[in-house]
Subunit: 341 residues, 2 copies
């Protein structure tokens, strides 16, 4: 087990890599209550044997207030106190909801995560953003509050469906695009199958990506500046994700292609690099385009959290490995969408 | 208008005393959205004329997640962004819900309060605790997050029902009990009617009480120690409040009498001081006892946020003007309840 301490603004968050869920009992003082989804619970029942466990329905469609209400009601039934630690075991939906429920139950109790998907391991479980969707609007309600720790147990990846592997690589490729050209090249020289076969190689990739995300967040926890770079591909991505019920990584992959086109159009991003990005996404079995109703997408953009008045903070690429924030008027974004997407 | 800046952990909160709601437009950059309840809205419609206003139903029964869901839905309709300031105009229910909705909408937008009741002016609007009840369990869900400012407009007191005046004095008497014997004596020498008739005299009382509460909170914002003293009368108070649908101050008044009896029994609090407290509460038209089902009350105590494992952090009086925190086993509390209450 490798232990790394990360110093966020109000809390040190410990990451336990190459660990096992059995070690949790040594890491937590006081009562543990688990939150997981029905898929994980059914696939890994022995891990939850004789543990207090709250099981929510699986999938983004259940990332809504009703699931939080359910968790709160169960915590009351269990008799959870301010000394209880809530541990979310699952993908991004479970970790986001668990972090949110723990942040508001009794005005905040301790919580931690065991991310079980590639996406949660490199992205969703990191950085303290938690919350739920409101109808089609992604993550419209939540808080920013760091967990006590993350525990990485690669055992869970043995039951991860292929689509979920692919899904996670979208955020890995995003990290390479905005922060790390060397990682981009490494990814070009490998494939999902290679990473699947070599757990140590995969572990290094996950550690590297967890570190990229963590460093960006530590520099700007409350997203006044550079943390916004992590939204590369997410403005259009979020808009099409719930509209078309796409997996998050698939939507972000398409969103990155759209943002790359806009970067080419207004930020001098090289056409060859745009094609290189599209090629890499395809190599990892990710989609690079989809047909969508522009009017509907534009309506959702208008409700984006990153919008201020009539403009939106949009993430453009300067080159592979380097991104920038640019405020783009919604009217211009609409024109760009109509012209080039 | 008197302006006082209070330095909390993460934010300076400005209190504008002797102010008028019309001055808000000079205090806020960007869009304002008001939240108020139907009573306030109907009584003071001109104050909300041509303002974006979300109206919730009045009363503790509506201090539930459903009201937060409604506010969030209205904010989406209005198109509120991260630059919107949400201003709660009302009593404690409105300020608690508004603070909570603002703390989670888009993971937190600015908010401020215009408290319209005595209770909100001296207590509920101060200190950053926000949230909602869950069924009968008071404030079981919420966050601690400070508003940008409080604005005191005594105009609202002209329409305040007498019961609400009485209600507010319970928390004023509580402040005197735990922190200020001089204030206790002042209260003994006056009455609700005297304060009602002299707005400057009342204004001074409100400023003094806002300051007492503020100083306690600033010393211990996240309630690790002395902030708990503010819970004097609230452990039994909360338990009977929703069970018997009592106004908050009435429940706290009865709760203070119960806590005084327990203080006499196990903390050497003088019997004469207990009688002095009961006399003062009666002088302000507050109830000092009620019949209640002990088994029901005990069930609610078991879910109290201040409970840790098998004990509860209970507030006892040493003397008038001085309180202490004592961890009392639930079993002992049950015995005390059966013996002396």
């Amino acid at each position: 087990m490798i232990k790394i301490e990360n110093k966020f603004l109000n809390r040190i968050v410990t990451y336990f890599f190459d660990a096992s869920m059995e070690e949790l009992k040594n890491l937590v003082d006081g009562e543990i209550v688990f939150v997981t989804d029905r898929n994980i619970f059914n696939l890994h029942q022995q891990k939850f044997a004789s543990q207090k466990t709250i099981v929510i329905e699986a999938g983004e469609a259940f990332k809504q207030q009703a699931s939080v209400d359910y968790i709160i009601a169960e915590l009351i039934k269990i008799g959870a106190t301010r000394k209880t630690t809530l541990i979310g075991v699952g993908g991004g939906v479970v970790t986001d909801i668990t972090g949110y429920a723990a942040s508001v139950y009794m005005r905040g109790i301790n919580f931690a995560f065991v991310p079980t998907t590639i996406l949660a391991m490199v992205d969703a479980a990191i950085g303290g953003k938690n919350g739920v969707d409101v109808g089609l609007y992604k993550n419209l309600v939540g808080t920013i509050n760091q967990p006590q720790f993350l525990l990485y147990d690669f055992n869970f990846l043995q039951t991860l469906p292929n689509e979920e592997w692919v899904n996670g690589f979208a955020e890995i490729i995003k990290h390479a695009c905005i922060k790390d050209e060397k990682l981009f090249t490494d990814l070009e020289n490998n494939s999902v199958d290679i990473y699947k076969k070599d757990v140590q190689f995969l572990s290094n990739l996950i550690k590297k990506n967890a570190t990229i995300k963590t460093n960006v967040v530590i520099e700007d926890e409350f997203e006044k500046g550079d943390r916004k770079l992590l939204n590369f591909g997410h403005t259009f991505g979020h808009a099409i994700e719930n509209l078309h019920q796409l997996p998050h990584g698939y939507a972000v992959s398409i969103g990155m292609c759209m943002a790359a086109k806009i970067s080419e159009e207004i930020n001098g991003f090289y056409s060859e690099d745009k094609l290189r990005l599209e090629k890499l996404l395809k190599q990892y079995h990710l989609p690079t385009q989809c047909s969508f109703d522009k009017a509907n997408v534009f309506e959702i953009l208008k409700k984006d959290k990153k919008r201020y008045d009539a403009s939106i903070d949009f993430i453009l690429l300067n080159k592979i490995g380097e991104a920038k924030i640019q405020s783009i008027p919604l009217t211009q974004l609409k024109d760009l969408m109509n012209q080039i997407l």
